[in-house]
């Protein structure tokens, strides 16, 4: 139980008194993770310090029977000329840890903080991120009822974040967090309850999302950009004659507007992504891939990978992109990594199958396809490849059967119709082969409306999850 009664806290400034909180009355329910949001200087950190019992209000009181960690902030309460280990030992002493337990905990702290040999160096040689991480790792050695986290999840690489999350989750059964962060994604990961501190007011929301929606400014107006006119090079080409239907026109304008808005927000120094960062960039990369801008697609997939180097969807698509661009070495490296991380991954198996086929190793190729089709029986590319191998092994009937089935579920891909046509021709069914080719051509000439609709949809979601 934490209840706050008539709490007032102020600071003396040069010629006036600044009230952070005035006559605050609050009650936090038992066993909730609390996320605190608010603009800079609103008193979030002060609130944590008051809760943690290291700062005192002017009047009023905080009643609680819980234990609190020290606020886990960027500076960390370390003695600068002492080593990381020395500091940790001192703090373990402060909390009365026994010798044996301490030795054990210090090793855990060292590995969790991920600062390596710096653990034996004076803290003054650390970057602020490092001392923050050390402070966090150290606090995990104790079983506080509440961990007071002040922006600490924003430091550290993906690896540390993952470890930190795991460490907090193992604590979560017995301990809760009270967390200040500007990253809505981090808050959403950990917190149930939202507290908004703004303009000297502290409001508790039953739901974190509600607090966030009260805090963040509304969705910015999407400015539609005028599409640049056709350049001189293109004059006289057929492009001018192409007419896109009215519906497509507005869809395209929406897509362009969304792309513009997203890129504008990404250019801001303080943008926030309210979902998995790697996932966000991978989706954006995929959109650019679908829009045929391969360089941008590669760029955004790389950004996804810089957040999470093991992000499989991006690796998968990069393999395809490098393949299209003929960047053989990049493709090989990426593919190897993908294979290491996920040996059962469909993209990896498909590429490996293609390699086997190029080397005319059909048995191996077939074996790989069976593995793939076992886990993904509907995988179109695998089915198509299998049909091709069957055809090459002169099981033409079986190949035709497979290809026809594939087209029933994936009627939108021209290449599949072309392959069907080849099978039919081999059986001497020329008329049907001709029809298949005609079908393929007619699909190719129609506007891929659905594709652009799904692009618009994806972009809408991405734009909503990007705030600043």
């Amino acid at each position: 139980m934490i209840s706050i009664e008539k709490l007032t806290k102020s600071y003396q400034l040069k010629n006036r008194r600044h009230y952070v909180f005035r006559d605050l009355n609050l009650h936090f329910p038992e066993g909730t993770n609390i996320g605190i949001i608010g603009p800079n200087g609103a008193g979030k950190s002060t609130f944590l310090r008051l809760l943690g019992g290291i700062d005192y209000p002017d009047c009023g009181r905080i009643r609680t029977d819980k234990s609190f960690s020290w606020p886990l902030g960027l500076q960390g309460g370390f003695v600068r000329h002492m080593t990381g280990r020395g500091n940790c030992r001192m703090i373990c002493n402060l909390y009365g840890l026994g010798r044996e337990v301490m030795r054990e905990k210090l090793e855990v702290v060292k590995s969790l903080s991920g600062i390596g040999h710096y653990f034996e160096e004076p803290v003054q040689t650390y970057s602020s991120g490092m001392s923050g991480r050390l402070g966090f790792a150290l606090s995990m050695a104790f079983d506080f009822d509440y961990f007071l986290i002040d922006e600490i999840t924003s430091v550290g690489d993906a690896h540390f974040k993952k470890l930190a999350k795991e460490a907090l989750e193992t604590k979560a059964r017995s301990s809760k967090v009270i967390m200040v962060s500007h990253s809505m994604a981090d808050l959403k990961k950990f917190c149930d309850l939202g507290v908004l501190i703004k303009d000297g007011k502290l409001t508790v929301y039953k739901d974190l999302d509600e607090a966030i929606s009260h805090y963040l400014p509304g969705k910015p107006q999407i400015s539609t950009v005028a599409t640049s006119g056709p350049e001189r090079d293109l004059q006289g080409l057929f492009l001018d004659d192409v007419e896109i239907s009215q519906g497509m026109d507005s869809l395209w304008q929406e897509i362009e507007g969304l792309l513009h808005s997203i890129n504008q927000k990404l250019a801001l120094p303080n943008f926030r992504i309210e979902q998995n960062i790697a996932g966000f960039f991978a989706q954006l990369g995929t959109v650019y891939f679908q829009l045929n801008d391969w360089q941008k697609a590669i760029h955004f997939h790389h950004r996804a990978l810089s957040d999470n180097p093991d992000f499989i969807p991006s690796l998968q698509q990069l393999v395809v992109l490098y393949g299209h661009l003929g960047r053989k070495i990049d493709k090989k490296v990426t593919l190897e990594k993908l294979g290491r991380l996920a040996p059962e991954n469909p993209r990896f198996l498909v590429e490996k199958t293609k390699k086997c086929l190029a080397a005319e190793n059909r048995e191996e190729a077939l074996r790989l396809l069976e593995i793939l089709l076992d886990s993904h029986p509907e995988h179109p590319e695998a089915q198509s490849l299998k049909a091709r191998i069957l055809f090459e092994q002169e099981h033409v009937e079986a190949a035709l059967h497979l290809q026809a089935n594939l087209l029933k579920t994936h009627p939108e891909t021209p290449a599949y119709y072309l392959q069907l046509g080849r099978f039919l021709a081999a059986l001497g069914r020329y008329e049907e082969a001709l029809k298949a080719e005609w079908k393929a051509a007619s699909i190719g000439s129609s506007f891929p409306e659905k594709k652009y609709q799904s692009i618009g949809h994806t972009l809408g979601n991405l734009d909503r999850s990007l705030t600043f």
Binding site: K9, S10, Y11, Q12, T46, R49, G52, G53, I54, D55, Y56, S67, F68, W70, P71, Q75, G76, G77, F78, V79, H81, M82, G86, R89, M90, I91, N93, L94, Y95, G96, F142, D143, F144, D145, R173, S174, S175
Partner: protein, 274 residues
């Protein structure tokens, strides 16, 4: 994972005494490292200051006169005066910065200025005690003989003296953060006491009509009583009184505790005028 939760319980359910002990021990280790860890041959520097004082005083004395001072060897006399005085001085001066030099430690809820003061006080007392326990046997061994008079009495005087020093130290702990200039003023204020606290003269050497002006100083009483309790044959003047030291110690410690108690929240609260 019941054991994990049980550990959490033990951290929360520590008794105030356990917490106090753990904190003072933790801060003590830090202060120890802070005091000596930064210099090479760190521990050698601890007795340097008192030894320097004693040497200078002894050299001056040998130029002026010879023979014992009030019945004991001059070097022993100086040593017994210098060591308590240095303890007094260093505790006051370091107490002034207890709060400011440890803002990082106040990040931990358990650590309060009094803990830092206690750790520093303990450290300084132990240093002086160690120096004394090494120095006096050495002096004895080198022929400056003395005989222990009354150990129990020495113990009583020591306790009263430490109470006196601790009380003033607590006042300094509170004064430091509130009055910044005190860090400049106090050392200068303490220095003259070197000349009037009977470090290099016994009260019995002062003409009786002058003695009254010196005996308001509790330090003088403490130093004279130390010698009286420690060395057989030391001629202590009748104005020196254990009673006076007792009341000074009590007053000092009471004032210190009351002042600290009243200000304990304010000195670590942010946003108050400092």
């Amino acid at each position: 994972m019941n054991t994990e939760e049980a550990k959490g319980e033990t951290i929360r359910r520590q008794s105030p005494w356990q917490i106090q002990r753990a904190v003072v021990f933790g801060v003590f280790n830090r202060e120890l490292a802070n005091r000596f860890g930064r210099f090479s041959l760190g521990y050698i520097w601890a007795p340097l200051e008192p030894l320097l004082y004693i040497t200078v005083l002894s050299v001056i004395r040998t130029q002026l006169a010879s023979g014992p001072i009030a019945g004991i060897h001059p070097v022993v006399f100086f040593a017994s005066g210098v060591l308590p005085f240095i303890l007094f001085q260093i505790v006051q001066v370091t107490s002034l910065s207890c709060v400011e030099s440890n803002t990082g430690l106040f990040n931990y809820q358990r650590v309060k200025p009094a803990d830092i003061f206690a750790a520093r006080f303990l450290l300084e007392v132990l240093i002086i005690l160690t120096v004394a326990l090494l120095l006096f046997p050495c002096l004895y061994f080198f022929g400056m003989e003395f005989v222990l008079n009354d150990f129990l009495y020495l113990l009583v005087v020591s306790v009263l003296f430490l109470m006196f020093v601790a009380g003033l130290g607590l006042i300094c702990t509170v004064m430091g953060p509130f009055w910044n200039e005190s860090k400049k003023i106090l050392p200068n204020f303490i220095r003259p006491f070197f000349f009037i606290s009977g470090i290099f003269f016994p009260l019995s050497d002062i003409p009786p009509e002058m003695r009254e002006r010196l005996t308001w100083n509790p330090l003088l009483h403490a130093l004279e009583l130390f010698r009286h309790a420690a060395f057989e044959g030391y001629q202590v003047s009748p104005e020196v009184s254990l009673n006076f030291l007792f009341w000074s110690a009590l007053l000092s410690l009471t004032t210190g505790l009351v002042v600290y108690r009243l200000c304990r929240v304010k000195i670590v609260t942010s946003g108050t005028i400092k």
